[in-house]
């Protein structure tokens, strides 16, 4: 006996060739159609795709956009990141909870609405924000929250929530979003006018080795945060004698506070795709994947149209730009809500249909990546730079920036500043000048590089944005003088506890231990030894965790212990010599006082 539901699930599998590598796509499709992936559907998918049931279950439980429980017809995902909290997240959340009559994580009894919270959705400069199914809604207030619920109850169509279209391509017929680019400071490289096809034509006129040399001469380093030299990465992949090879664009922009890639994909998609094509030419790849974070699904039809237009123009497909034998095409893989998938080895796991678990390195993806083949994974911004380098030549690119950090950096600035948005600045600019540009001069601290970066206090505002000083993937969250900075440190620490994959002990057990200690200090029950303990634990987690997430998870606490020591000192006290300040005898005896039958003390 097969129910119509299950035969439809089977059809969905077959539409994806019942290919285990496409498991995430299958799961997304089932989730979207049935609002959940039931236990029975898990069985059906496992049987149809030919993998153990647990593989499907692991996939469903891993991604936050997938669920076994049936969700409402409309899922409202409230972004609960630090900039949202600064902008009034709590009142918006309460308004939604009240209007829908369900708590966070709940589904209304009529099955129409599910209310959830989610990590950063890449709209920090227009917070508080939410995703209503795939439609982003920005600049929320409690009034707007009530209005949204009321209006959705009437028509049930999230798209109708968009009243005023955003700027630039956000108003494109295939996007039609209220998201704004807030491009406050377009620089000379990434947002310069673009002549479609120019970079590719110049690239194919060179040999692949010459293309790599050009990228090396430009001293291009990866823009995702780690700053690995791009030319070297390509050369590693080129030198491996294996076929096929792959080019992956990491558009899983998940570092909280980062939204630059969203704007690049909206305004310079062609430059991103061209960058992938040039990388393919350089390393000898025929297939590329653009891994787009699930939160940016509203950009998918637009990006598909850009790919299609390039195929029509001979810039993708076979014999690209007239170069016989240069065949390359790109598909878009949608993510499903998992921060750790921004880490390249986790991203590859996810692409292969597995949980997005990071892998041990080496081997590095350039040797053994997607489907165990040589794979280059580059950030969206890096690929835009590549295109620009081919357009204008490496010399022009190097006119900007510092010797170690050539070119410009795209910054996503949000929080307590007058002009939140996107800034393209030359590398080497001091943080203080960045803050002046954004109207954040009065800042007490800035989180540079998202939670995994560094909380920088005023004493460090003369440090420079570049790889050898303040290295960053580009997220800057500004905190004004009235903010409780340790509560922000706590929020970022909670983020890592939530997003950790649970695989290794230092990160899984160590981070909650650090959080407990931090909370003790925040509650005024910490002592100096607790600060030493935090440093010690943080160092252990940094050194012994398995992947980049765990290795950077202690950063909010470790960096603030350095840069904002006075915040900690002010809240730690010394108990009587040798006693623990944190032990509260009175509180520990509270339950005993409530036990009935206790005689009053007669001493």
């Amino acid at each position: 006996m097969t129910s119509p539901h299950e035969s439809r699930v089977r059809d969905i599998c077959r539409q994806h060739g019942s290919d285990p590598v496409r498991l995430l796509d299958i799961a997304r499709a089932v989730q979207s159609e049935f609002r959940g992936i039931s236990q029975q559907s898990i069985d059906t998918i496992a049987a149809e795709v030919g993998v153990p049931r647990v593989t499907v279950e692991a996939c469903v439980s891993f991604y936050s956009f997938l669920s076994v429980e049936r969700q409402g017809e409309i899922t409202i995902r409230l972004c609960d990141d630090v900039p949202d909290r600064l902008a009034g997240y709590e009142t918006v959340r309460d308004a939604f909870v009240h209007a829908l009559g369900v708590p966070l994580g709940g589904t209304t009894a009529d099955g129409r609405f599910t209310l959830e919270r989610t990590a950063c959705i890449g709209l920090s400069d227009q917070a508080p924000a939410a995703l209503v199914n795939e439609v982003p809604v920005t600049g929320l207030s409690s009034d707007r929250a009530r209005e949204i619920v009321e209006s959705l109850s009437r028509h049930g169509d999230p798209r109708q929530l968009v009243r005023k279209l955003g700027d630039g391509n956000n108003a494109h017929p295939l996007i039609q979003s209220m998201v704004r680019n807030n491009l406050q400071y377009p620089g000379a490289i990434l947002f310069s006018p673009y002549n479609r096809g120019e970079a590719i034509r110049k690239a194919v006129a060179m040999s692949p080795a010459e293309v790599i040399r050009a990228v090396k001469t430009a001293r291009l380093r990866g823009r995702g945060g780690a700053g690995f030299p791009t030319g070297m990465k390509w050369e590693f992949a080129r030198e491996v004698e294996a076929s096929p090879k792959y080019v992956i664009c990491n558009a899983d922009e998940g570092e909280p506070g980062t939204f630059k890639d969203r704007v690049l994909l909206t305004e310079r998609a062609d430059r991103v795709i061209a960058g992938m094509t040039i990388a393919a030419y350089a390393i000898g790849a025929a297939e590329g994947v653009l891994y787009l974070r699930g939160e940016y699904a509203y950009l998918l039809p637009f990006l598909e149209s850009r790919l299609e237009r390039r195929r029509e123009d001979g810039l993708l497909g076979s014999g690209i730009a007239g170069k016989h034998g240069f065949d390359f095409d790109i598909r878009i893989q949608m993510g499903a809500g998992a921060y750790v998938c921004g880490e390249e080895s986790a991203l590859i796991s996810s692409l292969e249909g597995d949980r997005g678990d990071p892998r041990d390195r080496p081997p590095f993806p350039t040797t053994s990546g997607f489907r165990a083949s040589p794979t280059v994974v580059n950030n969206v911004e890096t690929l835009c730079c590549v295109t620009r380098i081919l357009e204008e030549g490496p010399a022009t690119f190097c006119e900007y920036g510092t010797p170690q950090s050539a070119g410009t950096k795209l910054l996503s600035i949000s929080g307590d500043c007058r002009l939140p948005g996107i800034y393209e600045v030359p590398f080497g600019l001091p943080l203080r000048e960045v803050l002046e540009l954004a109207g954040g001069e009065s800042a007490a601290a800035v989180q540079v590089g998202g939670p995994s970066g560094r909380l920088v206090g005023t004493s460090e505002f003369d440090r420079r944005i570049c790889f050898d000083d303040l290295a960053t993937g580009g997220a800057l969250v500004v905190f004004g003088p009235d903010r409780d900075l340790l509560s922000i440190v706590s929020a970022y620490t909670e983020f890592f506890i939530e997003e950790g994959c649970g695989h290794c002990t230092p990160c899984r057990a160590g981070m909650p231990a650090m959080h407990d200690l931090l909370e003790r200090v925040r509650a005024g029950r910490g002592e100096h030894a607790d600060l030493d303990r935090l440093r010690e634990l943080g160092e252990t987690i940094r050194r012994t965790s398995r992947c980049g997430l765990g290795q950077t998870a202690p950063n909010p606490i470790l960096s603030s212990l350095e840069g904002l020591a006075s915040e900690y000192e002010a809240r730690t006290h010394e108990a009587e010599a040798g006693m623990r300040q944190s032990f509260d005898l009175d509180a520990a005896l509270q339950p005993a006082r409530a036990v009935p039958g206790r005689a009053p003390a007669h001493l």
Partner: protein, 181 residues
């Protein structure tokens, strides 16, 4: 030169660690030559007689009296050692940490299948120390200088640790003596 003074106590433990210390056999006589026992069940002093060089405490803190004792040990001992798994981690008594205190008492004194308690209340005499909300390891209540793990630590571990502490050498025990069972 006065001999170094040693104090010992058992809090929420089973006295197994003290038994292991006594298991030094004739070694205990050598120890008694080297040191002076102060407050300890071994000589049955209930109060501190003077400042001590080393305090050895087994068992965690389960009630207010345990807290008072460990605090007094901290005040009176130069070096304080938590001895055994109950002292270092809470041990077996800490199994109650998974259950709220009122439910623990209800099960133990009222609802348990073998309980005969016509009064229907947990014992409430004012002489009985009140229990804490959960069992605490000693280092959660006072600063602890050294942890000697084991359930119990072996007599050899006691001997090696005391020798090191009394001679002022680093108390780095060989791996064979550090065990958690």
């Amino acid at each position: 030169m006065p001999r170094p003074r040693i104090a010992t106590a058992s809090l929420a433990g089973c006295f197994g660690c003290h038994m292991s210390l006594l298991d030094l056999d004739e070694g205990i006589l050598e120890l008694a030559e080297l040191v002076e026992f102060d407050r300890s069940p071994i000589d049955d002093y209930k109060e501190f007689q003077g400042r001590c060089t080393v305090g050895l405490v087994e068992g965690g803190c389960a009630n207010e009296e345990n807290v008072a004792t460990i605090r007094e040990f901290r005040r009176c001992c130069d070096v304080l050692v938590s001895v055994g798994d109950c002292a270092t981690m809470g041990g077996i008594p800490a199994m109650r940490n998974l259950v709220p205190l009122d439910e623990c008492l209800q099960e133990a004194y009222v609802d348990g299948p073998t309980v005969h308690n016509p009064g229907g209340l947990p014992p409430g005499d004012a002489e009985i120390p009140r229990m804490l909300d959960r069992v605490y390891a000693l280092h959660e209540v006072v600063h602890i200088d050294w942890h000697l793990p084991g359930c119990p630590p072996s007599p050899e571990a006691f001997q090696a640790a005391l020798t090191a502490l009394l001679s002022g050498e680093p108390a780095a025990l060989p791996p064979g003596l550090i065990r958690y069972d």
